[in-house]
Amino acid sequence: MRALRNFFYQHKFIEVETPVMIPAPAPEENIESVTAERGFLRTSPELAMKVLLADGVQRMFQMGPAFRHNEFGRKHREEFTILEYYAVNWDYMQLADFTTRMIAEAFKSVTGSSVTEYRGKLLDLSQVEYITVEEAYRKYADADCFELAPEKFDELMVLKVEPQLGNGKLTVLKDYPVEYAALSRRSAKDTRVAERWEIYACGIELGNAFGELTDPAEQRRRFALANEVRRRNSMRSYPEPGEFYSALERGIPESSGCAIGVDRLVMLLCGADDIADVRA
């Protein structure tokens, strides 16, 4: 953790802390929050940190707890440690480059080398492979990612695509079809895809990043859509994230942001197969 923090300080990021208990989580189709007595436990610090972006913070990071209801498995806990960071005026791929160097540096400062072995597989964190979602689905699942129903998209992701990612090096899986954009903006170069990437090592998803969506109208539309899906799946409805909306109206600058699962990074570092081994 110190190694991660050092890397941010070196690159002129300030450390921030935003509330863990919040009045209104972002409505997401597949993430459910844990209820607190007066509000909810954050599923990520995203909305609060974007308010800080609108307030003029240029580069910031935060490391702390996040909670996701009913997520429990070898790579999931309801409470986990999230590392989230934003940089104004950085392109999403610039952030990918930064992130891969951060992970390699963190390993190097802990183990003395950016080469590690995870469960019998050699992993050189200084090597990075970039692959688009379209390419990955064609190559590993023999499928067209633009044609798939969402359920099938996720199933192939888990069963076919993810196991092939991060073999021997870090993989940045980028340019998700716009249906899976979440809070990322549509790419200007290819309107079928959004500026979103995820980073993998040894088949494990370590983090997710966006070229941030800053258009208030588009953001409201996406949340409305997510709420609609949540209603259909009889998930809870949340209060409107008022502060976040007003930050959008004030203007969130062009920026990119990323969230890393710190526990999974530690799993890689320790060779742990189960997240239980790296949490108290």
């Binding site: 597949n30 993430i31 009913n70 498995g73 359920e151 996720d154 199933e155 993810e162 995820e198």
Partner: protein
């Protein structure tokens, strides 16, 4: 009905009218995507294994499974009869269901029953029972090595492998899970 989020290792579920127990379980979920619940399971009657992946909206049948303790009472000539310690209700079990365990039934021993739709599918006897050796080659005095064995019979004719130092008339402890010799209790 169970929902997919109830799935975990050891949970018993019903698929197409058979009971299954989940032997391995993993929760997989792309950060922003839908969860998949990957299960490896074993059929509780046939022992056959299979894999199945569930989605969050899947509903899974709950089997009518009950566990209870019963005393072994007697053999009625066709069936082995057990009785409930509280209600004295009797239940007859066929030799087929019990398998090799018929040799280790002792009167009044407390057995654990797993019932599926009221029918016993698994019966667990006390782990160790004591039996007298009624037939074996004479023991070799002084030889206490246990890695060399010889056949021996207990009162109901069941044959086990015992160490050379065991004599006819000795009482031995038998592990009912494996049907093998565990230790000598007393010498004749």
């Amino acid at each position: 009905m169970y929902s997919a989020s109830d799935l975990k290792k050891g949970l018993k579920i019903e698929i197409d009218g058979s009971p299954w127990v989940i032997t391995e379980f993993d929760f997989c979920k792309p950060g922003k995507g839908t969860a998949l619940y990957r299960c490896r399971m074993k059929n509780m009657i046939t022992g056959v294994g299979m894999e199945h992946t569930y989605r969050p909206t899947d509903k899974i049948e709950q089997p009518n499974i009950e566990e209870r303790e019963m005393y072994y009472s007697y053999f009625d000539g066709h069936h082995y009869v057990f009785s409930d310690p509280n209600t004295y209700e009797e239940m007859s079990v066929s030799a087929e269901t019990l398998g090799n365990q018929i040799y280790f039934l002792l009167e009044d021993s407390l057995c654990n029953f797993v019932l599926y739709n009221g029918e016993p599918i698994e019966i667990t006897l006390p782990t160790f029972i004591e039996k007298e050796i009624v037939e074996t080659e004479p023991g070799v005095r002084g030889d206490t090595a246990t890695n060399v064995t010889k056949p021996a019979k207990i009162d109901n004719g069941y044959e086990i492998q015992v160490p050379l130092f065991i004599n006819q008339g000795d009482i031995v402890k038998i592990d009912t899970r494996t049907g093998t010799y565990a230790e000598r209790v007393s010498k004749k």
